[in-house]
């Protein structure tokens, strides 16, 4: 590094240091660009994908695999009914199916079928968090099967319909258009 360059760098560093106290308690807003070290370690796309649990409404993130409602019922009865009740009717955890009170009633049923806007949310949530006693224990086929069972209980897929990365995002959810963004708007493609 030449001397003028070194001098310029030093001046920049000093300027950055001097701006820090004035930022005070104003949160992470950048009054002046701080000079940050670049310490992030590059990660390959394949490595990043391996730990990726996100499933988007268009199906991005869904893994290979498949399952149907009949397979899902056995899993549900063994792993989920203890909190969510038989057939998703609710117990210590919320109801997932079986409700009939519409969203405009005084005591609406916010079941998967009546309230949830995206079928992909089921797969995403079950895979990452369920069962609560042993999260991460379910394989992709089992998560597809449980998603199928809950959608079937809500009358949205048939008992033998196979759910996979192609068919799950295509399930039409009745309340898809039921949400209004307040502090942020999802792009039309994601709504």
């Amino acid at each position: 590094m030449s001397t003028p360059e070194r001098g310029r760098r030093l001046a920049l560093l000093l300027a950055a240091a001097l701006t820090l106290p004035s930022a005070g308690l104003a949160g992470g807003k950048l009054g002046a660009e701080p000079i940050a070290p670049r310490l992030g370690q590059p990660v390959g796309a394949a490595d990043a994908a391996r730990s990726d649990l996100n499933v988007y409404p268009d199906g991005r993130g869904l893994p290979p695999g498949h399952g149907n409602a009949a397979q899902g019922k056995a899993l549900y009865d063994a792993q989920c009914a203890v909190c969510h009740g038989p057939a998703g009717r609710g117990a210590s955890a919320e109801e997932l199916a079986g409700g009939s009170e519409p969203l405009t009633s005084e005591a609406p049923d916010k079941t998967v079928g009546l309230y949830w806007p995206h079928a992909t949310t089921l797969f995403d949530f079950i895979r990452r968090a369920k069962p609560m006693f042993a999260p991460g224990a379910l394989g992709a086929d089992e998560v597809y099967a449980l998603s199928a069972y809950l959608l079937h209980l809500n009358g949205l897929v048939g008992a033998d319909d196979e759910l996979n990365a192609r068919t799950l995002p295509a399930v039409r959810m009745p309340n898809r258009a039921g949400f209004v963004g307040i502090d942020a708007q999802a792009p039309a493609a994601a709504r």
């Binding site: 701080p34 990726d52 995206h118």
Partner: protein
């Protein structure tokens, strides 16, 4: 007490509210509402108490509260089968000032507090970036840092306010999912720029390393504005139950988006539509539509004293104390009413008054011993005014569950007893 009241200034609002200037007057003794006293230790004839007659305790490596304050605890409510799924509430009625002790900061966990090895923990930034990057704790500690001294409030705080009947519980046990700490860490914008923003990126999905793998979407603009990857809480490494070793802090926004135990930030074109931004943390309205992405916590205030569980000890001058805050900015003013909202007096705001931060307010109130209804009403610097409950319910119905910020009313009976009322 008649001496004290003689010569006091005339009330500036109904029910005996005095000008806030009264708080600064010398010689005015302000009575306070309190639960109970206790038996005092015996002093010697010369007035020296026992603790002045023997050497005190030696130093301690990490200080703890007085043993006499052992009852000062978060109140815990958890799922019967999964005790790590639930809430612990900040006992707001027992605290003063604006800072919440870290050990009393409220908790909302969905599946417990993870026991994270900080050496093994990584934050991954991926998705629509030029180069996915991961950061360990040692690396992040070398970055330039910022502090945000501010509140975090759960979107579900105060949800008992939607009940048709006013719930009778200590203040903190239904409004105590709000706390205020200093959070220090690395601006999210610095790390995202290092990874390189793809022009198509418009949202970020944050994920925690807990047994729930809690995740939430936020608009990229908000992440780039003032969000932090916080490493420190009130100056020390973040406590396990608040996100150790790192959490997202999004000033002014509902607690759930301040993802604890942050392990991933994935940029995308749109939100992931997580369970906690669709099935939950959305507010169903009477027309059947639900409010979604209600990130900002709106202007709000609470009277912490006098409040339920305390008792006024007869007619006197009392200091009405409370907290006010807004996710949109600073608290501009707080007004207090002692006649159920017919008339209002401006309270004194205790400095510093910071944006997106709890602000302590105080008002002087001369209680005449007759039934009264105390209320506080905050206005923020965006001009937003805290609504009466009747107005909020008219606008939102009773099934929204989240984001209840209506005016809270305490009914005082002629014996000084205090109940929660809708008035």
């Amino acid at each position: 007490m008649s001496d004290r009241r003689r010569g006091a200034p005339a009330p500036v609002a109904g029910g005996g509210l005095l000008h806030r200037r009264v708080l600064l007057q010398r010689g005015l003794v302000l009575a306070t509402a309190s639960a109970a006293g206790g038996a005092a230790a015996q002093a010697r004839e010369d007035g020296r108490p026992p603790w002045m007659l023997t050497p005190g305790q030696p130093f301690s490596g990490y200080g703890q509260p007085s043993k006499h304050e052992a009852s000062l605890q978060r109140r815990i409510g958890g799922h019967k089968l999964l005790p790590g799924n639930g809430v612990s509430w900040t006992p707001l009625e027992d605290l003063e000032g604006m800072i919440t002790p870290a050990g009393l900061h409220f908790e909302r966990h969905h599946n417990g507090v993870p026991d994270i090895d900080p050496k093994a923990h990584r934050l991954l930034i991926d998705g629509l970036v030029r180069q996915p990057l991961q950061f360990d704790l040692a690396a992040l500690r070398r970055y330039p840092m910022r502090s945000h001294l501010g509140f975090i409030e759960c979107g579900g705080n105060s949800n008992a306010g939607w009940h048709p009947e006013p719930i009778q519980r200590p203040l903190g046990s239904f409004h105590g999912m709000v706390s205020c700490n200093e959070w220090t860490g690395v601006p999210v914008a610095v790390l995202l720029k290092e990874a390189g923003l793809d022009p198509k990126a418009a949202w970020g999905v944050a994920e925690g390393a807990d047994a729930f793998a809690m995740h939430l979407s936020l608009p990229l603009a908000r992440l780039m504005d003032d969000a932090l990857v916080a490493l420190y809480q009130n100056g020390e490494p973040i406590r396990p139950e608040h996100g150790y070793p790192m959490r997202l802090v999004v000033p002014g926004c509902e607690g759930v988006v301040n993802v604890k135990w942050l392990r991933r930030l994935q940029l995308a074109t749109g939100p992931v539509m997580a369970r906690n931004e669709t099935a939950k943390y959305t507010e169903l309205q009477p027309d059947g539509k639900a409010r979604q992405f209600t990130h900002v916590m709106e202007v709000k205030s609470l009277i912490t004293s006098p409040s339920f569980g305390q008792r006024l000890r007869g007619p006197d001058v009392y200091e009405v104390r409370g907290l006010a805050w807004s996710g949109r900015g600073r608290v501009r003013k707080v007004e207090v009413s002692a006649d159920g909202g017919k008339s209002w007096a401006e309270a004194a705001l205790q400095g510093p008054v910071l944006p997106k931060c709890l602000t302590r307010f105080r008002a002087a109130w001369q209680w005449d011993g007759k039934p009264a209804v105390l209320k506080s009403r905050a206005t923020d610097d965006s001009g937003a005014v805290q609504p009466e409950r009747e107005l909020l319910v008219a606008q939102r119905g009773l099934n929204g569950y989240f984001h209840y910020n209506a005016i809270l009313a305490w009914g005082i009976d002629d014996e000084g007893g205090i109940t929660h009322v809708y008035a």
